[in-house]
Amino acid sequence: MKHGPLLFLGVFTAVFASWVAGVLAPHVQIGGQSLVQIDELGIQYPLDRTGEAKQGAEIYRAQGCHYCHTQQVLQEPLLSRLTLTDAGTNIAEVVATLRKVRRDLDADTAAALVSRPPQVVLAHAGASATDQATRLLTNAGAQVESTIANLGPDLRRGWGTRRTVSRDYLRDEPVFLGQIRLGPDLANLGARQTNTTWLLRKLYNARIELPGSTMPRYPYLFTERRLRPGQAPSPDALALPPEFAPPPGIEIIPTREARQLVAYLLSLRSDALFYEVFPPKPQTTTTNAVSAPVEATNAPPTQTSSLDLRPSDFPLRTSDFDLRPSDFDLRPSDFDLRPSDFALRTSPLALASP
């Protein structure tokens, strides 16, 4: 090859292309994401941290906690379990509808299911199948409940109630996603651990709360203070079990850094529910219970149009729409996802689209 300039140009183009794909395009796609307005709670999610917690994030950064702890919860595309909780009054209609939803059921089995609620109707169904089944069954007068079927190891470990999405990190600077889990994921630590003393003890010596723990100690985030004879112990002093306690006359006081770090740890939670975290890919295939996709023939004509356009059809373009997460049932605590509400209220959204 005699053409130096061509070599330069080729390499340049290749690297530029990968930069466009890896950095620029994602920025164009999600760089303008807005905070999520949650009207019921009058908040914008993610919540801004308090000043103390923000400084705590700096302590977290400086100690390099993220070399052992991730802050991201993974989950494959969401699958739901739909349970019939009450058949209502029009049993025959519900049985007929159920047989539309579950083609594999014969009339007797369907009737048996309907007669003894609660019964699992769909075990692992994608978002749109669950939506349609919910709509059909509730139109027939039954009541159904939808829960998450595929928890995945992260959710089952209690590290979160849902996967984390890019909006969860809008306020983080820097972002501590982490690449390795030598310790547990901390994305939702504040949701499962609200005890300041517990956290302070964990930092002072992780083996106080969990014998045999391999987490490093951070004694330098605490100061030892000698009590003068007769002096009352400070209310700030860390309460320690006898085998970890300092000699009498000395108390362990958390430094400001330790308190800030704990404030930050308490602020860690990404469990608010909003539009983006629900419909993953338009995946309607089901893994076991449903043999055929549900038909929407039963739906009134006015609703058919809104049925066609469902949020899962455009998962990447949420920002194009005037997004009103307040339309969705927000239950962060029990994570009681109700696709019925969700699906029905997408119609204003669909209509608003060009």
């Binding site: 090859m1 005699k2 130096g4 070599l7 330069f8 080729g10 390499v11 290749a14 690297v15 990968s18 794909a21 890896g22 950095v23 994602p26 920025h27 999600i30 760089g31 950064r61 400086a62 100690q63 390099g64 906690c65 993220h66 070399y67 052992c68 991201q72 993974l74 190891p153 089952r156 470990r157 996967r163 984390t164 999405v165 890019s166 909006r167 969860d168 990190y169 983080d172 600077e173 820097p174 972002v175 996603l177 982490g178 690449q179 390795i180 889990r181 030598l182 310790g183 547990p184 992780a206 969990l210 045999g212 723990s213 391999t214 987490m215 490093p216 100690r217 951070y218 330098y220 990447l316």
Partner: protein, 494 residues
């Protein structure tokens, strides 16, 4: 490009008679780049040892959580990134630059220009890196893995680089036979990629940070360029220069080499996001990364098919050649790391290996095993030519190879197996987290042993180099000093 007159290398030994006019005598070429290469190489040897000490410390801290816990400077979350930066920017980049300068000069057949600027650049780089590593230990890290250097340090590194690397491109531009070699293509790639990814990574995470997870996307892109297109290119440039030289067999297929090079350049940079597979990113980004990683296998095949046969044929003939050991091992490690990385990006595999020791295991295999051994092998080949004197201790060189290869092998095996064990335990939610930790710890402890081996090897190399330099200094200085002092005592005694 402007090119100031070549600064005469300070302290150059007068050329052997009759060598002055010929355009491209290897001895002239070597002399033109002697000081930059020696200075960069010597500094990188020092950092190699320092990084190994930090690496041992970090590894010990993983399984001895109470050790030195009182010293905030030495907490795991600071020693670990300090070791990484010392290794990558203290040893890796300067050693890579030293080899790049030498290879470029040799292959282009023109002497190096800009020696003074290069030495100045090396000084700027060193100042920046020292500030940076101290900053990390003091708690000033930026908090982005791989981009930890604080804001007061990273620009110095870039400035240092920009004072050094362009001279290699100037030399390439003036190359005497207009024909160019495969090694030169890889060098040009490496030299162009580094400033770009370094600047993009640091600017988009610490100077004008992108929002939220986009920082992580910028970081993943940077790491991929750094690992594959910078270290990978330098590894391949070195291997493609030395192996055919040593084995005496030319690269068999030029078109295969060309194909391998372009697939490497085009696909090699795409795979970064597998680090965050399943994370909070648009799904297409991961798909692209997987495709990139898998397509890079074409390049891996091309390199392997071109080099392995001749290596295989020469092994028995060149049993005693330390340089060949290093480069052969580096080639194998690079091939293994690339194949495993492609494998690891597949969703089913990733499901098991995500967030485990496999990630650092593969990183280390490519960095220490691939680039590290290639660069060290290159040093073993280059330094004697620059100084006109062979390595003083063959034993130390052999020891170095044994330790380094052993360390890389041990580390890779321990972390890959340990990662699988860890992944299986993480995915099995009946296993409490502490038990997960107890299961991966033995493998992490093996990592300590590997780091210790690496340290011993690095120490052997540093001692050997120092010994060689002192010996050379003595042959140069002793006669000079004698010439200075001799007349007086001679008179006095007479």
């Amino acid at each position: 490009m402007s090119s100031p007159a070549p600064a005469p290398p300070p302290g150059a030994v007068p050329p052997p008679a009759a060598a002055s006019l010929a355009p491209a005598l290897p001895a002239d070429l070597d002399r033109s780049c002697r000081w930059p290469v020696l200075v960069l190489g010597g500094l990188s040897a020092g950092w190699l040892v320092f990084a190994a000490v930090l690496g041992v410390l970090a590894a010990i801290k993983l399984h001895a959580p109470g050790m030195l816990a009182n010293v905030d400077w030495l907490t795991y979350g600071r020693v670990q990134p300090a070791a990484w930066n010392a290794l990558v920017f203290g040893f890796g980049a300067p050693a890579g630059l030293a080899l790049a300068l030498w290879l470029m000069v040799r292959l282009s057949g023109v002497p190096l220009v800009g020696t003074g600027t290069i030495l100045f650049g090396a000084a700027v780089w060193q100042v920046g890196l020292k500030l940076g590593v101290l900053g990390i230990l003091a708690g000033d890290s930026t908090g982005i893995e791989g981009l930890e250097l604080p804001r007061y340090a990273s620009p110095l590194l870039l400035a240092g680089y920009l004072l050094i690397a362009p001279w290699a491109l100037v030399v390439f531009d003036r190359r005497q036979p207009r024909e160019s070699y495969l090694s030169q293509w890889y060098l040009v790639t490496a030299l162009l990629v580094f400033p770009w990814c370094f600047a993009s990574g640091y600017v988009l995470t610490s100077f004008l940070p992108l929002r939220g997870v986009l920082q992580a996307a910028a970081q993943a892109w940077y790491l991929q360029q750094l690992w594959v297109l910078w270290f990978g290119s330098l590894t391949l440039a070195t291997v493609f220069y030395f192996l055919p030289k040593l084995t005496g067999a030319a690269v068999p297929s030029r078109s295969l080499a060309l194909f391998g090079f372009w697939t490497f350049v085009v696909f090699g940079g795409l795979g970064g996001l597998t680090r965050y597979a399943g994370g909070p990113f648009p799904a297409w980004m991961l798909s692209l990364a997987v495709v990139g990683n898998v397509l890079t296998l074409f390049a891996v095949y091309a390199v392997g098919a071109n080099l392995l046969p001749s290596l295989h044929a020469a092994v028995s003939r060149l049993k005693g050649n330390v340089v060949l050991w290093f480069l052969g091992f580096a080639l194998l490690a690079w091939l293994a790391a690339s194949v495993l990385t492609a494998l690891n990006s597949l969703v089913t595999v990733r499901h098991l290996t995500h967030f485990t020791l496999v990630t650092p295991g593969l990183d280390q295999l490519a960095l220490l095993g691939g680039f590290g051994l290639a660069a060290l092998g290159g040093m073993y080949g280059v330094v004697p030519r620059l100084l006109g004197r062979d390595w003083p201790s063959r034993f130390l060189a052999t020891l170095h190879f044994g330790c380094a290869a052993g360390a890389v092998g041990l580390l890779a095996v321990a972390f890959l197996i340990g990662g699988l064990v860890q992944g299986a335990a993480l995915n099995n939610t009946d296993v409490a987290f502490l038990t997960v930790a107890k299961r991966y710890l033995p493998f992490a402890s093996t990592g300590t042993l590997a780091q210790l081996l690496w340290l011993v090897g690095s120490g052997a190399f540093a001692v050997n180099l120092l010994w060689l330099l002192v010996a050379c200094a003595r042959t140069v200085c002793v006669p000079a000093a004698r010439a200075l002092v001799e007349p007086l005592p001679a008179e006095g005694k007479a």
